[in-house]
């Protein structure tokens, strides 16, 4: 218990530090607001253009709402998947890896603590995406099952963080300290970009890509969120190949798959990261200065 309290205290201390660092660059806040506004507007304009000809059934009839949810999943996933590697790299290159490893913190605590910057930077984008969509582009949402919605968001966060930790493990496991990180590149820049269905239903994809999309937590999270939150969405008609094969209500199946993926990816992520650190201890590549 004392150990857990110490980890939480440390995460809070890290968070305060990240807040001070983030706000010490005043221009950050201005560019951040501009960036969110311009990005969101671009996506919405694009969605308005495509929306007229896109059949999103059974996910209701409001394409902007459909895209807002896609955009939100993109923001959450982008942070959770991309941040751990960047944070490990920052700790390493800053020369603080030695200090953290000599502290009684778990290996993961500093990474989570430093990710607080993303809580400030990236997660509010989700709220702004909802706000802009609602105010300017006619997005509407339903919140009939808030518990299920929250559960899906949490599971999406956990599973993508798990993939992020797998990505972070390559820093030590593959000794990749500079250049492109392969796991993030393969997942985020190839598979997810193609098959996650941020801006279109995956039913319009070629069948091979639909099968590929089954390996992504995004697929199940977006299916569940759109069924739960887009007005007029159908909660019983199967869309995903797995839903068509298994006789389980779609949202229940989404939750089951998200739970399985959360456990799997978190376990793999932590396991691989710890193995990476062990390897670095043997090879002498754990800290910047030997």
């Amino acid at each position: 218990m004392k150990y857990l309290i110490n980890q939480v205290r440390s995460i809070i201390a890290f968070s305060k530090r990240e807040y001070i660092i983030w706000t010490s660059y005043k221009v950050n806040i201005v560019t951040w607001i501009l960036d969110v506004f311009i990005n969101s507007t671009l996506f919405f304009m694009l969605s308005l253009l495509m929306g007229k000809n896109t059949n999103i059934a059974p996910y209701g009839n409001n394409y902007v709402s459909f895209v807002v949810l896609g955009l939100s999943a993109y923001y959450i996933s982008y942070t959770n998947l991309g941040d751990p590697y960047d944070r490990v790299a920052r700790i390493y290159w800053n020369g603080t890896m030695d200090l953290y490893l000599l502290s009684p913190l778990s290996l993961i605590t500093p990474i989570i603590g430093i990710m607080y910057r993303s809580v400030l930077d990236d997660y509010p984008r989700v709220l702004l995406a909802f706000l802009f969509g609602w105010l300017f582009f006619g997005a509407r949402f339903t919140f009939y099952q808030p518990v299920a919605i929250v559960l899906v968001v949490i599971l999406l966060g956990i599973s993508t963080f798990g993939i992020g930790m797998i990505s972070a493990s390559s820093f030590f496991l593959l000794n990749l300290k500079v250049g492109t990180e392969p796991i993030k590149f393969i997942f985020q820049d190839i598979i997810i970009a193609l098959a996650a269905g941020y801006f279109y239903p995956i039913s319009i994809l070629p069948y091979s890509l639909q099968i590929l999309s089954l390996t992504l937590p995004h697929t199940y999270a977006l299916d569940a969120l759109r069924r739960l939150m887009v007005p007029g969405a159908n909660v019983t008609v199967p869309v995903l190949p797995l839903q068509k094969v298994l006789n389980v209500p779609p949202i229940s199946l989404d939750l089951i798959m998200l739970t399985v993926m959360s456990f799997l990816f978190i376990y793999l992520g932590f396991f691989m990261y710890i193995k990476g650190v062990e390897k670095a201890r043997r090879n002498g590549t754990l800290t910047r200065w030997q």
Partner: protein, 345 residues
């Protein structure tokens, strides 16, 4: 005091750096890293070779040696940041490989390079406090200790941000950061680097006080004058090998060598060569050559039976001996003798 708290048995460490081709990146690098295609034996760096030592509880123990001797590698192994390639050891009964996670709660580590880890957006005070909290020190206790050490080291720049601090100021902040944690074992890796004489003396004072309180201190340094204050047992490393172990006088393998401090009116290189070649002095290069008001202060390692020859050789050259004083063997004497011989061999 015979209570071994650190035990090192035949520890070796071999680094095998991965040879990178210029500008290499992308899938080629991923595959090469994964299967380590280019692991080349010739690239191996032997950082430590079968090092053995023990440190008693409450002892100040020194690790000395020239650059690249393996001092930092040894401390990193003993703190669990590195695994040895061969051999093993224990710290406070904990296996340094199997129990490395537990070492964290008994060891505090201060390194000359740790100032790199100071957060540049923070003040000196915030840096120390943040680290103490991270290491589980209650905030009130941490604040109290920071105040105490601040007063002791006369720190009047706690409120300054890191970029405004000089190298020495950053170093002392890193040192205080390690001291505030207050663990039973303290590793100090080159702690005197960049410190002014006043801070060096203050740090030596702290080290002695901590040892008197029963803390075990492992200290690596090139600053022999600072180390000699503790008259510590030491391990002397050279290219990863142990070339000496024990107190300063035990580090000299040759018996009957006595350091003499001389004040001479002149000291020429040919005198030095003549003294060494005729076996009067044991170390070729007199490292401590200070000229003050046209007076040469020289410290020579003289073979005890040849003291008269030394005086004759000097007088023969019409050099005046203004003063001659017998000294006790210091770590620096032992270091110069051993490293000199290693280099000559």
């Amino acid at each position: 005091m015979d209570d071994k708290i650190i035990n090192v048995e035949n520890i070796s460490k071999i680094f095998n750096p991965f040879p990178l081709r210029k500008k290499e990146r992308g899938p080629g690098l991923w595959v090469a890293n994964l299967v380590r295609l280019r692991r080349i034996k010739e690239n191996e760096i032997v950082a430590l070779q079968e090092v053995n030592l023990f440190v008693n509880r409450g002892e100040i123990f020194a690790i000395i040696g020239p650059n690249g001797a393996g001092k930092t590698t040894l401390i990193k192994i003993l703190s669990g940041l590195l695994y040895p390639t061969k051999g093993n050891g224990t710290v406070s009964g904990l296996d340094i490989i199997k129990d490395h996670e537990k070492l964290k709660s008994i060891v505090s580590f201060v390194s000359a390079s740790f100032w790199m880890g100071l957060e540049w957006q923070f003040t000196a005070y915030e840096n120390i406090l943040q680290y103490a909290i991270m290491l589980g020190v209650p905030q009130d206790t941490a604040k109290k200790r920071i105040k105490e050490y601040g007063e002791f080291f006369h720190i009047d720049y706690f409120d300054k941000k890191v970029p405004a601090l000089s190298a020495g100021m950053r170093q002392i902040i890193s040192v205080i950061r390690g001291l505030v944690v207050d663990r039973p074992i303290l590793y100090l890796d080159e702690p005197f680097v960049s410190l002014d004489p006043e801070k060096r003396m203050a740090l030596s004072e702290v080290v002695k006080t901590l040892a008197n309180k029963g803390k075990t201190i492992l200290i690596s340094s090139h600053e022999f004058t600072d180390l000699d204050v503790f008259h510590p047992r030491s391990v002397m490393l050279y290219k990863g090998k142990t070339i000496g172990y024990g107190f300063a006088e035990e580090l000299l393998p040759e018996k009957g060598i006595i350091p003499y401090s001389l004040r001479l009116s002149e000291f020429l290189p040919d005198l030095e060569s003549a003294l060494f070649e005729s076996g009067i002095i044991a170390c070729k290069v007199p490292k401590e050559l200070i000229v003050l008001d046209r007076v040469f202060n020289v410290r020579l390692l003289v073979r005890s039976e040849r003291v008269n020859d030394l005086i004759n050789e000097i007088l023969k050259r019409k050099i005046k001996i203004l003063d001659i004083k017998k000294e006790s063997i210091s770590l620096k004497d032992a270091y110069l003798y051993r490293v000199n011989n290693e280099v000559l061999n």
